[in-house]
């Protein structure tokens, strides 16, 4: 925190620098999030999402969670988003033009969301969390994160590998397209197998 502040604003008040940075990153992510909602072109939507993710990564930096910010940039922006863009490209042959929702739906959705947002803000403000300021006096080492991952959270950590393995297998299965001769092979295989099945039926 201190290091970033000192790099970016050498002689400015210690309170103002983080505030400015916050508004910068928050503005980027909020505006791009709105862009995700509003843009009609899917590629543009993806770009907006990219900016949101980057803005959020910046917020992690502000919160002294450098490791998480790195993960966000590497895994989210570099992995997940690229995956999404691949998806966009692979399916881009389909007609995009008339993807517009009906006006009634838009009104209902926006109204509901505005009400919800207002309620959420009221709830958050009513909660009145303390403290509202960062305590920057104490050390906040990354090594503790590793310790937590391999200590208290060892089980979910290991489980994540299982999740990823299973998901990878499933995704690979679905994504690999089945060719025409494949289908014929299926038919043949089914025929031989169902001969046996027919004995029962």
């Amino acid at each position: 925190m201190n290091s970033i502040a000192s790099i970016l604003a050498l002689s400015v008040d210690a309170q103002t620098v983080p505030a400015v940075l916050f508004y910068l990153f928050a503005g980027i992510s909020a505006a791009s999030a709105l862009g995700v909602v509003l843009s009609r072109n899917i590629v543009r939507t993806a770009v907006c999402l990219l900016f949101t993710l980057v803005g959020v990564a910046g917020l992690y930096f502000l919160l002294e969670s450098e490791f998480l910010a790195a993960v966000q940039l590497v895994v989210y922006v570099g992995g997940t988003l690229i995956l999404i863009v691949f998806g966009v490209m692979l399916t881009s042959k389909s007609p995009f033009s008339r993807f517009e929702p009906k006006a009634g739906e838009v009104v209902v959705a926006i109204a509901a969301c505005i009400i919800l947002f207002a309620a959420l803000v009221m709830a958050i403000r009513s909660a009145d969390f303390r403290p509202q300021t960062l305590d920057t006096t104490q050390k906040y080492p990354v090594v503790a994160l590793g310790q937590a991952l391999l200590g208290d959270y060892l089980v979910p950590f290991e489980l994540a590998s299982v999740v990823l393995l299973v998901v990878m297998i499933g995704a690979a299965y679905l994504a690999k397209s089945r060719k025409r001769d494949d289908k014929r092979a299926v038919a043949r295989g089914a025929a031989t197998l169902s001969q046996k099945a027919r004995q029962w039926s």
């Binding site: 208290d152 499933g170 690979a172």
Partner: protein
């Protein structure tokens, strides 16, 4: 080096006392690996994978029962996971049911499946099973999220496993979009729980809620909303049920059967454990936020049962009908979960640690497992023979295949909840416990009773087709795969047996209805008229 070592501290290496109770999960992971290796050693890959999966599940079941439950008071794996008898019985049921699903696959879809797709299919199935078993044994928020996702993500793929099948593709699309939305909602809402109490352990959170610390009722509301959204999606509670009929219809039948019992059961078990953790910390007193929570779950259960039953009325597709039926049954079970505070005592008996709603849920799930397995097995075999999932495909089944017809009859009547099948006992047990709670739960009893009557209409439509309609010219008699017939007949038989042996089943579920960390507070004895028989001559 020394500084780093000091900072890292000693590495955490879990020992046998930590991992022992979770050998079954270990076996499931080993099975996943085995499934990936099996195709290299066998020519008939699908069959090999079937056998590997069967062996893995059997090993898991045996080790589960062998190891049993560790002594209470210990929290293995630093409290991330819980091993108690409640989870144990659910896991045993889950594994038994998954074996049933494997048999169902063998007797129906196996002949259609392309050689070589087996490893993927079974990996996904076992992976989802692992997730569902973990859902039962945790109160850690992170673990809950992980387990729910591990259960969900493979299920999405399973729903669309028949790649060339348009309906399958549509089903999995709907499933994944709906599921991703609900789980995202849940995760967002759960962050507030962490924000308010600074811990991911629900037990600790519950104790703080009881203590009144950091009381932010509005945020607590958000958190519970999210929780119900995430779990409600798994159990297809209204209004999180939209995916259910479409996915059930689009997926192949063994996947549908799997989702209808395993997925819902896991969700209910998780919901019960989470809510009971709160209720126990609050000593089952009728205080906020428990009251609101209990009412919410109860009302949701009643609505779910009603919507499920009424919507099932006009269905012609048997899988869709069973989907709505499963929604209705999830509603009944949610009514049991809503017993968060008791007007005349405690839900958990302090002396024995037996939790009444847990008992009801376990009992109901045990019976429900067989009802659905049997019904889906018959539906699958009829589909194999006629190529149709319509109810009209059942026309004259009693002449075409009497064993399947009678098995279906048993399942349908049991699903209604009529004697002489176990569904009656399960429903009776549920209603008795609800009545015993008194107060507003009488309304739930009435709702369940009315719903049961209404449900008779659509279940009887199937029976009518089976017994009264004549078979069409294109509906010849058929034998069906022996494994599937055995599955159906076995389920029917189990339903009769469980009615006759209701007492041992009840005792079993009672014995296992104990949750770690939930022991009930100092109980006041419930007053009930006790009848003493006058001395015999």
């Amino acid at each position: 080096m020394n500084i780093v070592a000091a900072a890292i501290g000693r590495p955490y290496i879990p020992g046998w006392t930590d991992l022992g109770p979770f050998v079954a999960e270990g076996w499931l992971i080993v099975t996943v690996v085995g499934l990936l290796l099996a195709p290299f050693f066998a020519r008939r890959r699908n069959l090999a994978c079937f056998l590997v999966a069967l062996a893995g599940l059997t090993a898991a079941l045996i080790s589960l029962l062998w190891v049993g439950v560790p002594a209470p008071g210990r929290a293995p794996l630093r409290g991330i996971l819980i091993a108690d008898s409640f989870a144990l019985l659910w896991k045993a049921m889950l594994i038994v049911f998954t074996v049933g699903v494997l048999f169902l696959w063998r007797s129906t879809t196996a002949s259609e499946m392309r050689e070589g797709d087996g490893p993927e299919f079974f990996t996904l199935l076992i992976g989802a099973t692992l997730g569902m078993s973990l859902m039962a044994s945790t109160t850690n928020l992170l673990m809950i999220v992980m387990a729910v996702e591990l259960a969900s993500l493979p299920s999405y793929v399973l729903a669309g496993f028949r790649k060339t099948h348009r309906l399958g593709a549509e089903a999995s699309l709907k499933y994944v979009l709906f599921g991703a939305g609900c789980s995202a909602l849940m995760i967002y809402a759960l962050t507030f729980l962490y924000g308010m109490y600074g811990t991911l352990d629900l037990g600790a959170i519950a104790r703080q809620v009881q203590g009144g610390a950091h009381a932010h009722p509005a945020l607590l509301t958000i958190a519970f909303f999210g929780l119900i959204a995430g779990v409600g999606f798994k159990i297809a509670a209204v209004p999180f049920h939209f995916w259910c009929p479409d996915v059930f219809e689009g997926a192949s039948v063994e996947v549908t059967a799997f989702l209808s019992v395993a997925s819902k059961g896991a969700g209910l078990v998780l919901l019960l454990r989470v809510l009971m953790t709160f209720a126990d910390a609050m000593e089952y007193r009728a205080a906020q936020p428990l009251v609101a929570l209990a009412y919410a779950v109860g009302i949701l259960g009643a609505i779910t049962a009603t919507v499920g039953n009424t919507a099932a009325f006009a269905q012609n597709n048997i899988k869709r009908l069973l989907a709505y039926s499963s929604i209705a049954h999830a509603g009944y079970m949610m009514c049991a979960v809503s017993l968060l505070f008791n007007l005349n005592g405690h839900q958990t008996d302090a002396a024995s640690g037996v939790n009444a709603p847990a008992q009801v849920l376990l009992f109901y799930l045990t019976v429900y497992l067989f009802m659905n397995l049997g019904a889906f097995a018959v539906a699958a075999l009829v589909y194999r023979a006629t190529g149709s999932e319509d109810i009209s495909a059942f026309n004259g089944l009693v002449k075409r295949n009497p064993v399947l017809a009678h098995a279906m009859m048993a399942c349908m009547i049991s699903l209604i909840g009529l004697p002489p099948f176990a569904g009656f006992v399960a429903k009776l047990n549920l209603m008795l416990v609800l009545m015993n709670n008194g107060g507003g739960w009488w309304i739930l009893v009435a709702v369940i009773a009315v719903n049961s009557i209404a449900s008779a209409f659509y279940y009887f439509r199937v029976l009518r087709a089976i017994y009264l309609e004549p078979a069409g010219a294109d509906q010849p008699a058929f034998a069906g795969h022996p494994l599937g017939v055995a599955l159906a007949a076995g389920s029917g038989l189990a339903l009769v047996l469980m009615l006759v042996l209701a007492s041992p089943v009840s005792a079993l579920t009672r014995h296992y209805a104990r949750m770690q960390g939930i022991g009930g507070a100092a109980a006041t004895p419930a007053t009930k008229p006790v009848v003493t028989v006058s001395a015999a001559p």
